[in-house]
Symmetry: D2
Subunit: 326 residues, 4 copies
């Protein structure tokens, strides 16, 4: 069986995905994209770094943009439940033979940095500065009205291994795609915070970040964003959508930032907090798994992604082919 | 100049497009499509004929489905303003050398049947039986919640000629696509009732009916229809969309009935009643004219259409090529 | 029968309502309301006058705000079809014994000013400067995303007389409320451009302007406006709604500008172009006529309105009482 | 300080609210309300009992309707994390001197029944039969398209005590209303599953069930329900709304079932999984706490509720008065 049984008592308690740091090559251009087009709120700004939050978030940042020579994803951050979880995480990763270190992160308390076995740089923290609520300051809403960071999706050269590892630290599979011939996982969606996913893995050259997703109020916010982007010079940054995923049932849009980092805009998945909720299985050959309404994704969506800074990639073990737009 | 000046004083007063009669090969299957999926209301039903209206319409029918050996569009119907307009229309068409006849149409008063110079069969009437209002009988709303028939779109082998003719009977161009090289019209949208169009023409093998459009309340009704069709066996009948047209600014979806007759679901164009409203010109090479958000239409959308019963077609005079999905 | 038969051949051709000039006591504050809150676009601005248009309008103005000592409605403007209609209107009003004059209006061609028999100051024009289309400049959309001016509603001390007069110049009743006891009209909705109304009359101290309405894309735009107004200091300017009118089936919201001029935000009525469309009758005692969902309107909504500059008012002839919120 | 510090390590792990059993006096009429109007799905049906689930739920029931002589709320059910939590809960409640018993509940595994100190009958379970997913069977969606049960709200004669108790079993306050004079809690919203609340308490004669809430996709689903109820004989069952709560930021509607049991339809609150998320405080005198847009609630909303079967009620200790509609 490709999907591991839920791990009800993980070694430490991860609350949710929390932030991503992206290296971008033109901070001013990226600021326009994330602030003026998407509508994220600037919480700090200096010469080579901008931090952002979405409208219902009270933590200081969900995206950190840093100017760099080359674009990449620098690190994925996860919130832990309580201080002891940090030490448990430290010891557990160390016991797995994975390198751990305590790092300084502005506006955060103690922060543990490590890499998962695929090499993805990840961080754990418990404390982050709280900012005042702005979700009812409706004059600030702009762009797609982003409410919160929702999930990460990563290319993995071996999804079975990635899933087994994240399952061991408490992520539970909610939906997955299996290659019927090899019985290997093609993709899996895994959650901590009670939606379809905090983290997903898709078969491909990796590890690479496929996309970071933001939750919005309803499909009309996504239509508004399409209208805005297509009439303000961002037409070629629209990659795929709008549509409804078979998997997760989400209404989606995929767009690319000025460096090609992919952002998903997303609404309407479902509650998954029951620990025995049976995962939903999709066949790799079922085109409605990708898009319920039948339109295949473009090739770029299957092939392009953001490398993680300082992290080599390798070919995928599984060679099955998805259905792409001709 | 390819677009004729508005004809403010046409020979008779056309109020709006009103109905289409479609020949279908399996009336039961078509009934499922138009009634259970789209949500049109049956107003009369017999062995080989069904009449339908949309939710805000009080006239007896906007679609007449007739079972036939071969699928085709039988006739396009237009409402005239007052009884004298019928006689004026009769005399005018006769004076053009076009064949006219008075025909019996159930639930209609005097009905004039003729063909436009391209051969499209058209009918004019003034009186149609009124049914009780149902637009506030919300328990009846189903499917895409169709509110009213909105427009026809036809392939024409010579759009310049088609536009000149319909302009002469009072249709005014609101938007058009010009081939920059030949200065010929590629497509034109012409209205009577105050929206972007009652009738549109697109360059192609013709005359053929490209589609019949229905107006719906908002984009979410279209998303609901996509969800419904894609999970009830109608996935392959979804042809194009959802998207926003550059032309008309409408949010759209194109679907195909069981015989391939194309239906557009449509909302949010704009008011065009000012008789001096300048038409909006689009370049044939501008992909946003088709879809503001950039996605090209599939080849079938450019090539397939419904023949008019008993009406031969010919190749288009203009050979320019649209941008299609690869 | 209280509702006059449709007048199919009026003495001149009115296309639609077009603009209102409002006298306001603090132009800067009014600008904030109409531009920053509602989202209308400034088309001209000087010390004591601002002109505005909505997003799909190409005419220069639908609202003219003028600073004045006292707030009032200065004039209601209507678009005529063609130049000869101006002269026909001139002669017709003169023949009725109503005072007419040609006035200079900036950005308009020849403009005829008169008063209806109740004393409402009205203007007719054919030409207005066209501005470039902005309905696809989505970066400009703000507030409630107003698409176009939709209608005027006026208190009249004798609705039967008001309706008879406007019927004589071609307005057709689409819906009306009758007082069952006296068989007098309590209110009536009359159109020219093909929706439920360009002009409506409600029984009350008059003539006064009850409200000017703007058309918006869908109910969510109205919810957005409520969120914005209630969190930016405009809470007390929200008067009634959101709700659905039984009459017209419109989803509505009523708000008040800084001088108390009432604005309705409105979407989803229906097409009324058929000249024989039977009017819908509502009983004055039916509370769903006001609000389909049952909530009565506040007393202010029945009692308050904008006087027309220089126009005396009188008590209503009909003393029936509407249902108001307790 | 009125709000207790979050209890990060409760004695047992409650996942979420799960079901309510309602006693109704006319099962057929209630079925019409919950199934045909609201759109819940029947999962079992016998002479005197019907079980229902919402569209994204896979557990067998979220509402159990039982025919009875008198209407009342029979019990509120909560899902625990894992089997050992049931025994921990058993022992903990027993240690508090509260009566506990194991009860048989159809389609559920071991079920523990007890009462909270106010007397509210509650049940805990871990296993419930899973049904096949229907969230993508779009042909089944009806009414308000209910996606899941969201929360309970109860009148409590002493909100401070109720909050202290539920905090001791791990519910965390997300928002609350304080009476500024007495520094007593007027109302509090407490969650387990990551939204604003699974359980809320409001000052009043109690304990009584104020309402059970269902989550829907977006505000348009609520507008659809209003249109449906107001035109199918359910007008007087609409009690309050639509509106946006200041507290929770939710778009809401309150309706009453045939026995007066109150149902809230609800969407768009926010994620609360961070265990140190600061609660938001509202002043009892702030009218926007109830309705961001300013409209006060009707008196019935403050005074009426469902008694719990066999549970005496008492007057509230706190006598402060809310703002009600005049």
């Amino acid at each position: 069986m490709p999907v591991p049984a839920p791990n009800l008592y993980p070694p430490f308690n991860i609350v949710r995905l929390a932030y991503v740091e992206l290296f971008v090559t033109d901070l001013i251009k990226s600021r326009t994209f994330y602030v003026d087009v998407l509508g994220l709120q600037v919480t700090h700004e200096e010469a080579d770094r901008i931090t952002l939050r979405a409208m219902e978030e009270r933590g200081h940042h969900c995206i950190v943009l840093c100017e760099a020579e080359q674009p990449s994803a620098s690190v994925l951050g996860f919130r832990l439940y309580d201080d002891p979880d940090l030490d448990k995480a430290h010891d557990w990763f160390q016991a797995q033979g994975l390198q751990v270190e305590w790092v300084e992160r502005s506006w955060q308390g103690r922060t543990l940095r490590t890499r998962d076995p695929q090499g993805i740089p990840i961080e754990f923290y418990v404390r982050m500065d709280h900012l005042e609520p702005i979700h009812q300051k409706y004059a600030l809403y702009r762009g797609v009205r982003p409410l919160r960071i929702d999930h990460f999706n990563c290319f993995s050269p071996n999804v079975d291994e990635a899933v087994a590892f994240y399952n061991s630290i408490g992520f539970r599979v909610t939906e997955y795609t299996e290659d019927e011939e090899t019985k290997r996982l093609w993709a899996a969606w895994m959650h901590r915070k009670g939606g379809v996913h905090d983290m997903a893995f898709t078969n491909g050259v990796g590890p690479r970040l496929h996309h970071t997703a933001f939750w919005v109020p309803n499909p009309l916010a996504i239509i508004d964003l399409l209208d805005l982007m297509s009439t303000t010079g961002w037409l070629s940054n629209i990659e795929r959508g709008p549509g409804r995923h078979g998997i997760s049932n989400a209404f989606f849009l995929y767009i690319r930032d000025p460096d090609g980092h992919r952002i998903e805009i997303y609404c309407s998945d479902y509650l998954t907090v029951d620990p025995d909720l049976p995962p939903i299985k999709w066949d790799l050959k079922d085109p409605q798994r990708q898009t319920l309404w039948g339109a295949p994704a473009p090739r770029s969506w299957f092939e392009e992604g953001s490398v993680f800074a300082g992290t080599p990639v390798r070919e995928a073990d599984l060679k099955a082919q998805p259905i792409v737009a001709p």
